[in-house]
Amino acid sequence: MSSFHSFYGFLDMGGYAPFVWPAYAVTFAVMGLNVYWAKRLLRRAHQAARRRLAVQEETALAGAAGEPSV
C-alpha cells in the first residue's frame, strides 16, 4: 500500500524531511491558531455584551428611581 519501506523512510520523506515536515507544522499551527482566535473572539464578544447589558440595566433602574438617566 505505502510507498515507504520503513518508519525511518517515512520520517525521512525521501530526503525532503526538512521541507515537508515544517510545511505541515506551519499549516497545522495556523489551523490551531484559527480555532483559538475564534474562541477568543466569541468569548470577548460575550463579555462585551454582558457589560453593555449591565450598564443598560443600571441606567434603566436609575431612570425608574427618578434620577437623571445618561
Binding site: G14, F19, A23, T27, V30, L42
Partner: protein, 245 residues
C-alpha cells in the same frame, strides 16, 4: 412572502443560533477529512516521478492557497452585499472571514517557500504567482488594519468593504498568473485541459484535503460570525437571552 427567507437569513438572532448549531456539522467532517487526507497524502500516495516525496507539501499548500482565494472572494462579495443592501450580517461575514483568509495566505506563502527551496533552489522569487499571492496577503492586512482603525463597527464595515471590493482584482490575477505569464510556479495541477494531471492515488487525497480545509473554514467562520454578530447588536433584547444560555 417569497422574501421571508432572505429576512430570516439577515436576522442577527437567527444567524447567531444557526451558526452555533452548524459549527459541529462543519468541524467534525473537516477533522475526519483532514485526517483521511493526511494518511492518503503523506503515506499512501506514491512519490512523484520528478519531485520524489517533496511534492507531498502540495497536500497542505494547494488547499491553503484555495482558501486564500476563496475566502478573499467571500470577504469582497459579502462586503459588497453589505454595502448595497445595508445588511449587517453580510458585513459580519466579511469581518469574520478576513483573519481566517489572511492566516491561510501566510500558510500558502510559507509552505510554497518550503516547496520552492528544494525544487527551484530558492525560497523566494519575484515571480508573478508568488508576487500576486504576497499582494493578496497585504490586501488582507490592509483590510484588517483599516477595520481596526475605526472605533465604530458600522463605519469600519462600510469603509473596509470598499477596499475589499477594489482588491478583488487580485484574485483572478493570482489564479491565472501561471497561465498568463511564464512563471516559475507549476501550472494548474488538479485539472489541465480538462484532464487531471495526477493518478487517482495522488488526486483523491488532494480533493479530500480541499474539502476538509473548506469545511474547516466553515467551522471557524461559524464561530467568528457569532462573535461578530454580537458585536453589532447594541440594544437588542435577544442578546440578553443569547448570552445567558
Amino acid at each position: 412572502m417569497a422574501w421571508t427567507w432572505f429576512h430570516r437569513l439577515a436576522s442577527p438572532p437567527h444567524i447567531y443560533r444557526t451558526a452555533g448549531r452548524l459549527t459541529p456539522w462543519f468541524a467534525w467532517p473537516a477533522a475526519l477529512l483532514i485526517v483521511a487526507g493526511l494518511i492518503g497524502g503523506l503515506y499512501l500516495a506514491p512519490p512523484d516521478y520528478q519531485q520524489g516525496d517533496g511534492y507531498r507539501i502540495m497536500y497542505v499548500h494547494a488547499p491553503s492557497a484555495w482558501l486564500s482565494l476563496m475566502v478573499y472572494t467571500i470577504v469582497a462579495v459579502a462586503g459588497g452585499i453589505g454595502l448595497i443592501w445595508r445588511m449587517k450580517v453580510a458585513h459580519a461575514v466579511a469581518a469574520a472571514s478576513a483573519p481566517i483568509g489572511a492566516s491561510f495566505t501566510l500558510a500558502t506563502l510559507v509552505t510554497g517557500s518550503l516547496w520552492g527551496k528544494p525544487m527551484w533552489g530558492t525560497y523566494w522569487a519575484w515571480d508573478p504567482r508568488l508576487t500576486s499571492e504576497l499582494i493578496l496577503f497585504f490586501m488582507y492586512l490592509g483590510y484588517m488594519g483599516l477595520r481596526a482603525a475605526f472605533e465604530d463597527v458600522q463605519r469600519a464595515d462600510r469603509i473596509s468593504a470598499v477596499l475589499a471590493v477594489v482588491g478583488l482584482v487580485d484574485v483572478p490575477i493570482v489564479h491565472y498568473s501561471v497561465v498568463w505569464w511564464n512563471s516559475l510556479h507549476q501550472g494548474p495541477s488538479v485539472m489541465y485541459l480538462g484532464k487531471p494531471t495526477m493518478p487517482p492515488s495522488m488526486l483523491v487525497p488532494l480533493l479530500v484535503m480541499f474539502l476538509g480545509f473548506t469545511l474547516f473554514f466553515g467551522a471557524v467562520l461559524m464561530m467568528r460570525l457569532r462573535g461578530e454578530v454580537l458585536l453589532r447588536e447594541r440594544t437588542a433584547t435577544w442578546v440578553r437571552e443569547a448570552i445567558r444560555t
